[in-house]
């Protein structure tokens, strides 16, 4: 029986979408400088229905539809941030964000440094990422690793409803640009949200499951798959205890937490939905190797997206991105090749 009566405290079950909408509504209600802008965020309710209902409550000025001008409205977000507002800019998908790459990389990320510390850009940009919905090659890519390459940006990827709820207020409180990547496959997923928790940190990884045999590092949509792989590994004939680390922040990377884990497990599998070559996984593997070379039992294993534009057909799309079995097999192989589980 649920004895919870106060709707603002306690742990409740909600979807990732509801968690993000709650965060947005709370931000709009608590700070007059906050406003949302993007394509179809008002009447339509957002492409992924995240902003549904907000314009009715907060009005069209603060839940502001934009034309299809990604560079224009991201740049306007930067300008509004410089002018004292706290804009939350929604970009439909990471693929569309490439039309605003100039503003994000050449301006948002550089202004503070270029001005010798005079102008910071307190801008929050939200966008979806990832495949799994048969949206083909121009709506399905995972390019968050590109943004994680850029000094001057903070890049986070909430993988749970709780982080979806509590990373946003932290992003708004940050004086720097923060890009929030929301995996489109997560919106309908439910999970516990502590309504009284308060803003989450934006710079630390989190161990989602403990284990001593192998560390699996994942982010965004890959975290749930890594957790299922860990369950499969534990249930196998020769049980393997996998530790699952959710990166949460892609820039900065919390190498300390990864190293602490790998120094215990001596094995690491890094998982990324993005492409392998020059990808986030490459950075993770290099960083883990730099820190843990002498305690590693084997080279870091990479599970990454196949080197192909994401195709439409379900079976092809599934084959193009890492699945639970790919993670399970990579971890099991790594453990088997290095003496088996402890």
């Amino acid at each position: 029986m649920n004895e919870e009566t106060d709707a603002t405290t306690g742990v409740v079950e909600m979807t990732y979408r509801e968690a993000m909408r709650t965060a947005l509504a709370d931000a709009l209600a608590s700070d007059e400088r906050v406003f949302i802008m993007g394509e179809d965020v008002a009447d339509y309710g957002g492409t992924y229905a995240v902003t549904k209902g907000l314009y009715e409550e907060f009005g069209r000025d603060r839940v502001r539809n934009t034309p299809l001008s990604e560079s224009g409205f991201v740049g306007a977000g930067i300008g509004a941030a410089l002018g004292g507002m706290r804009p939350i800019v929604e970009i439909m998908t990471v693929n569309f964000s490439l039309l605003a790459l100039d503003q994000l990389v050449n301006t948002a990320a550089t202004l503070l440094h270029m001005s010798g510390g005079q102008f910071n850009v307190p801008l929050v940009v939200r966008m979806t990422t990832g495949a799994g919905r048969q949206l083909a090659a121009q709506h399905s890519h995972s390019l968050e690793g590109w943004y994680a390459h850029v000094p001057g940006l903070n890049v986070v990827a909430p993988a749970t409803p709780h982080d979806a709820r509590w990373m946003l207020p932290a992003a708004l409180a940050d004086p720097n640009p923060v890009i929030i990547f929301e995996h489109s496959g997560l919106y309908n997923e439910s999970g516990p949200v502590d309504l009284g928790a308060g803003p989450a940190n934006l710079d630390r990884a989190d161990v989602r499951r403990r284990g001593d045999d192998v560390t699996i590092v994942a982010s965004a949509g890959m975290v749930a798959k890594a957790l299922r792989a860990a369950e499969d590994l534990a249930a196998g004939a020769n049980p393997i205890a996998a530790e699952v680390v959710d990166l949460r922040s892609l820039r900065p990377l919390d190498i300390d937490t990864l190293a602490e884990s790998v120094q215990r497990t001596h094995r690491a599998v890094v998982v990324d939905e993005g492409w392998r070559t020059g990808g986030l996984n490459a950075e993770l593997a290099a960083s883990i190797t730099e820190r843990c070379f002498w305690t590693l039992d084997a080279p870091v294993a990479r599970v990454a997206g196949r080197e192909v534009p994401i195709p439409y057909a379900k079976h092809l799309e599934d084959a193009a991105i890492p699945q639970v079995d790919d993670i399970t097999e990579a971890a099991a192989r790594l453990v088997a090749e290095t003496g088996g589980p402890t």
Partner: protein
């Protein structure tokens, strides 16, 4: 009824306009020399020939207004009140430069005068101007204006069209100032645009727009007064194209092969400083000796800036990674 434009803006103001144009000219000429001496490095874009525009516009702004400019912005910064010595120190790469030696010639910034930079991505700052205007509008800061300078090359960029549409759609208090010097580096407007009437492009976004002689500081002043009055009164964005010409090459790397000597000479006949000087002398507003002392004042200002910049310290290398992420709010 008095229709003499000089009398309309007043003798004192005319002297100020002439003095400011001369300040920019002297500063820029000195920059060219210093580039030859390798004191200034990187890209250097000079405003020589175009001084009437920054002079006419900047003198009409209020401290609470915001300014965004291009990479050809030394003059704009100077007239905004950024000291000549901190601009020069910036170009010398010194710690006391207005951007701490991290921006250089193309990225002069100044928080105290709301000077939001020299931007080196052509057209990239137009959306920022819309956002600054939007912030003024949403925060109820009535009467404040964001002035955005850009060259005619920017009209080929998508960001120009996106920004003008947004500005008109949201009715933001932004004055778009197009400095049409006819060449985007070496690409002439004629060879790159299907529609040469730039005001028409702005008008197509329902923004009041017109074209003005940018070599005449009085015309610049009158057009800007009219535009600013409308924007400040809540009339939404305005667009003014100033027809001008740069007497020097695009940058110090430019061999200037794309235009004829005759064309350059023809435009030099319309030198905004020489013509305005002659006009003021003819109208008995200033004497030759007074003009000479204006040049002297500008030379003193520039030389002092060079001395100060030369003596300024370098930023220590251990601060290299400062200002990548702010730990707290700065600026704005």
């Amino acid at each position: 009824m008095n229709t003499d434009p000089l009398a309309e803006i007043g003798d004192e103001y005319c002297r100020r306009l002439l003095q400011d144009m001369i300040r920019i000219r002297v500063f820029e000429e000195r920059c060219a020399e210093l580039y030859g001496q390798q004191k200034i490095r990187g890209f250097l874009h000079l405003y020589i020939g175009e001084e009437a525009i920054a002079t006419g516009v900047m003198n009409l702004l209020e401290p609470h207004d915001a300014v965004l400019a291009t990479y050809r912005e030394h003059g704009h910064a100077l007239l905004r009140g950024v000291s000549a010595s901190s601009i020069m120190a910036e170009m010398f790469g010194r710690a006391t430069g207005c951007s701490g030696g991290r921006g250089g010639s193309m990225h002069l910034f100044d928080e105290t005068t709301r000077f939001f930079g020299g931007n080196a991505i052509v057209g990239g700052h137009l959306p920022l101007a819309v956002g600054l205007g939007l912030a003024d509008q949403m925060l109820g800061r009535r009467g404040q204006v964001t002035v955005c300078f850009f060259g005619e090359g920017a009209v080929a960029e998508g960001e120009f069209h996106e920004a003008l549409n947004l500005a008109a759609l949201w009715h933001v208090p932004v004055l778009f100032v197009c400095e049409n010097n006819r060449y985007a580096m070496g690409t002439s407007l004629r060879s790159s645009e299907s529609q040469l009437d730039l005001a028409l492009k702005a008008a197509s976004y329902a923004i009041p727009a017109w074209s003005v002689d940018g070599m005449d500081v009085v015309e610049v002043t009158r057009a800007t007064q009219r535009a600013l009055a409308s924007v400040r009164a809540g009339g939404g964005p305005m667009f003014v194209e100033f027809q001008t010409y740069r007497f020097r090459a695009h940058s110090m790397f430019d061999p200037d092969l794309y235009r004829s000597r005759d064309e350059v000479e023809e435009w030099k006949q319309r030198d905004p400083i020489a013509t305005f000087s002659a006009r003021l002398v003819a109208a008995d507003v200033v004497g030759e000796d007074e003009i000479e002392s204006m040049w002297e004042f500008a030379r003193d200002e520039t030389e002092e800036a060079v001395e100060v910049a030369d003596a300024a310290p370098l930023e220590p290398i251990d601060t290299l990674e400062d200002h990548v992420l702010a730990s707290e709010e700065v600026g704005s």
